[in-house]
């Protein structure tokens, strides 16, 4: 009796795409729950809308391309893209924002380039940036945390606001966003940027109620939720630890330098970590296996570059948050970084010898 001898590798990784995608979707739960607790139903409604759109678009394009539909439709990648878009959107944005964004992400950014595994850009972020560039008005109507909103934003109110622009009682989005003092409230990042532009110091501007007791009311807990989810993913070995670590480290170093040089006009390091989309970008988007770098050294370089870019866009750019733009720029440079950080092949010397 002869043994069948198989060649290496003998140790197989049985993770399949649907399992991995499901794991990532589960890992966003703490962050999404925090978002629901502090900002209400808006993002959950947008996630639902985006997921429905994503499935319809994916089905249409796959049948046009004559691909195996049942296999690729439910591999979870389209649902994950939709989920990320839904998380990123302002909670009270009109319904067509998430529909158009998801359509663009699935049809143009993902499928036109050849589907899963062939897209050079992260579909969720490209869709988000498209929306931000095309509809600046709708994409900046950020809703303040529920505790600061005078109108009771329950499920019905949020749903009608998203669908028609008015709550059941007839308050417009602008009225919902206006605080009791009559000021329109923006995100902490946005407020800080405007205030430092007006010549106020950081210490003066963080007295605004939207900053809360710590760094940014509500946002800090959303970010903490995504941090927990991300650590869970690293523990499960679903994502590499190099990218988020180097990204957060780079952002920390940049903000630390400016804070120690000029504490009056630059926000603290922890403010940069726990506001905006920092943690979501670090653990869920920058680690995308398709669009990120593939070698360990490359991942570290991409993370460092992304952290620097996020810091530069937040402090010197025109937009309050720069995670989406930074990630798209890193996606663009990832192939080149991979080219220069090729690991040595086993049995060969350095430099292709």
């Amino acid at each position: 009796m002869a043994f069948w001898i198989a060649s290496s590798p003998h140790n197989h990784n049985h993770t399949k795409t649907p399992n991995l995608m499901r794991l990532v979707i589960y890992a966003t739960l703490p962050g999404v729950l925090a978002q629901w607790y502090f900002f209400g139903w808006g993002n959950l409604i947008h996630i639902g809308l985006a997921m429905a759109t994503a499935l319809v678009c994916e089905f249409t394009v796959l049948s046009l391309r004559k691909k195996p539909i049942s296999h690729e439709l439910f591999d979870g990648s389209a649902l994950l893209t939709a989920l990320l878009i839904g998380i990123c959107l302002p909670a009270l944005a009109p319904w067509w924002i998430s529909v158009i964004g998801t359509m663009f992400a699935i049809v143009i950014v993902k499928q036109l380039y050849g589907g899963l595994g062939h897209n050079p850009f992260n579909p969720a972020m490209a869709g988000y940036v498209m929306l931000l560039v095309s509809f600046p008005l709708q994409m900046t109507i950020w809703q303040p945390p529920l505790s600061l909103v005078a109108v009771d934003l329950n499920f019905a109110n949020t749903l009608t606001t998203i669908l028609t622009g008015f709550t059941v009682e007839g308050y417009s989005v602008e009225q919902v966003r206006t605080s009791i003092d009559g000021f329109t409230m923006a995100t902490p990042l946005d407020t800080l940027k405007t205030n430092t532009g007006l010549g106020l110091t950081v210490f003066e501007s963080i007295k605004n109620p939207i900053f809360g007791d710590n760094f940014a009311l509500g946002w800090e807990w959303v970010n903490a939720g995504f941090l927990v989810g991300g650590l869970f993913l690293i523990a499960k070995k679903a994502i590499a630890w190099q990218t988020p670590l180097s990204f957060l480290l780079s952002l920390f170093i940049c903000s630390f330098i400016s804070y120690s040089l000029n504490p009056d006009s630059s926000a603290s390091t922890m403010f940069h970590w726990f506001s905006g989309a920092t943690m979501l970008g670090a653990f869920f988007i920058l680690t995308d296996p398709v669009t990120g770098a593939t070698s360990n050294k490359g991942r570290i370089i991409v993370g460092l570059l992304a952290g620097l870019l996020v810091y530069l866009i937040r402090t010197a750019g025109g937009y309050p948050d720069g995670v989406a733009f930074a990630i798209l720029l890193c996606n663009m440079s990832a192939p080149l970084i991979d080219q220069y950080t090729r690991p040595r092949t086993y049995g060969h010397l350095k430099g292709d010898k």
Binding site: I108, M130, V133, S134, F135, P136, L137, Q138
Partner: protein, 269 residues
């Protein structure tokens, strides 16, 4: 010798009439041939300019104005007409002087001719359609650098007679203008939901009735109006053209296969 001459003479005297007739007939046949050849050439030129070798979709020449000014139909039409006019005139002129142009300095001469016509068009538009002249801006004088025009002058007009060259210019210009228009239609509908917005700038006051409101948009879809939208729409148009081409090709293959089968059946029986 005389023996040889005599039969020639007899030959000459007798069949002169018939040879004349033959010559006339041959000339007629040749004229017919030339006519049909010309017809075929014109047809070929039209197909090349409008579809097979379309400057916008296939040669991808002159992309800069193509992508920059097609945010509305009116702008696209304005630039399309200007390019068409310049292309016809420059092709005709280049072809008319092709025997006197030294090969070594032909490119500067072509550029000068094109620049002259562009200046004419620019002055005309400045005089009669000032609004469109302003909204086209730098892209009107930049027609000089449109590679489609110098490409046609070099590739076709400098080797062919005036009539064909002018016709070639017309067809290439039409092909370019049609793509400009298509892009303008797509981007204007998606971007601001209208068609022929500001047509009065190009055609005069009466044309303001041409404005059609296709969709009521509360706010503009900026991506369609900004240059990235032009790139995406252009890519989709090119993909559509290639899809139609490959569809036709597949159909043709099936047809010829059927013909061959029938012939074989006949041979066997």
């Amino acid at each position: 010798m005389s023996n040889e001459i005599a039969p020639q003479n007899s030959n000459e005297t007798k069949p002169t009439n018939s040879s004349d007739e033959q010559e006339i007939a041959a000339a007629a046949v040749q004229a017919e041939l030339i006519k049909s050849e010309l017809k075929a050439e014109y047809k070929e030129l039209a197909i090349q300019g409008l579809w097979k070798n379309n400057p916008g979709l296939v040669q991808l020449l002159g992309l800069c104005p193509l992508l920059a000014v097609t945010s509305t139909v009116t702008n696209a039409l304005g630039l399309g007409l200007a390019t068409l006019l310049v292309l016809i005139c420059s092709n005709a002129t280049v072809s008319a002087i092709r025997h006197w142009v030294p090969k070594e300095i032909r490119i500067p001469i072509f550029v000068l001719i094109i620049a002259a016509f562009v200046t004419c068009v620019q002055l005309l538009m400045n005089a009669f359609t000032y609004g469109i002249y302003q909204s086209l801006g730098i892209f009107l004088p930049l027609i000089v650098t449109n590679c489609a025009i110098i490409g046609r002058a070099e590739a076709y007009a400098s080797k062919n007679p005036v009539k064909q060259s002018a016709f070639d210019g017309l067809m290439m210009g039409l092909g370019f203008a049609i793509i400009l228009l298509l892009l303008g239609v797509i981007r204007e509908i998606l971007g601001q939901g209208t068609l022929f917005d500001g047509a009065n700038l190009l055609f005069g006051e009466w044309a303001s009735v041409l404005r059609v409101e296709v969709m009521q948009l509360d706010n503009q879809f900026l991506l369609a109006i900004l240059p990235p939208g032009a790139f995406i729409a252009m890519g989709i148009l090119i993909a559509l053209k290639n899809a139609i081409d490959s569809h036709i090709k597949n159909k043709k293959v099936v047809d010829t296969e059927q013909v061959i089968e029938r012939v074989r059946v006949n041979f066997d029986s």
